[in-house]
Symmetry: C2
Subunit: 189 residues, 2 copies
């Protein structure tokens, strides 16, 4: 109905991140986000169901990308390598959106309710990865252990990446986190 | 004020678990729990803040036990072994309460809201373990990786233990889960 607005999603996202950091997530309204972006509320709701979704819409895309990558991985790939392939498939998306990812993380770090949402979304991603591995014939508990190890490695790598001033390669950090994980369990009797 | 009721906490807990399984958690009221236990609502609220706490009060005790065990572990103990000591310190509690743990799990498995609460509580336990390791001088990210590995191993072991008809030793299952975790990461290039 209304006229086409160039990059409306990106403008809304940036306006929201700016306001969340300036005023706090809870204190920001959709009206204010639309206004800051120079768009209407109606346009906002064409892209996002609510103000929280501005922070979490990417997770659904991640889920799809992970599942597709696992589905199409060579049959002989070991479970943990399949998970690493999936995590690495998403790395270019993160590299492209590094500044947004950093701003998003600052908003989430400042809000316990959003941290809970992030934890639940991460658990949902792990469940999707587990399910995709099972479909490849990976038995339990290997499927869920491999998915959980992937989540831990990614979480650890992401925390370093997002706060590091020198833009390191996220794939490299994922592999380093996995190596640290291996070293830690090797200490075990 | 009111007279002492023998094992009021245990009676309330069992009445609640029975009702949650019969009617569902959402459909059960505190009034009904107290009535089923042959106690007053006032007595209920002396032990629990609400009906959800009946399922989650144990987590605070677990947290204390984990943190205390980590604090008192021999200085030379490796991070992952320190975490395993903490998990094992809680095993007798689980063994004693196996039937209650099984019933509690059935209630949680039937209710997505409770599953979310369980995830958040587990994350809080991992954070407490991470913090306790840091206080021993374990650096990041080793502290959080060791805590997360412990959570995964325990989750995997617990799922087997709670559903197994032959009452296996939970400590043994924790060690097996850790061995599986090691085997999985060893596959990695």
């Amino acid at each position: 109905m209304s006229r086409w607005e160039p990059n409306a999603r990106g403008r809304l996202e940036q306006a929201a991140l700016d306001l969340y950091r300036e005023r706090g997530f809870d204190q920001t309204t959709v009206t204010e986000i639309a206004e800051r972006a120079g768009l209407t509320e109606r346009t906002f709701f064409r892209y996002f169901t609510d103000k929280r979704e501005v922070l979490f819409w990417g997770q659904e895309r991640l889920r799809e990308l992970y599942v597709r990558t696992i589905e199409t991985a060579p049959e002989s790939t070991a479970p943990i390598d399949t998970v690493v392939l999936a995590l690495e498939a998403a790395v270019p998306v993160f590299h492209e959106r590094r500044e947004l990812a950093r701003q998003r993380q600052a908003v989430i770090d400042a809000n316990p309710g959003l941290q809970e949402r992030e934890l639940l979304k991460r658990a949902a991603l792990a469940a999707a990865v587990t399910e995709a591995l099972r479909k490849r014939g990976v038995a339990d508990p290997v499927a869920s252990l491999a998915a959980d190890v992937g989540v831990i490695a990614f979480k650890t790598a992401f925390a370093r990446w997002v706060n590091s001033p020198d833009e390191p390669d996220l794939s490299q950090l994922i592999r380093e986190a996995l190596d640290q994980l291996k070293a830690i369990t090797r200490d075990d009797r």
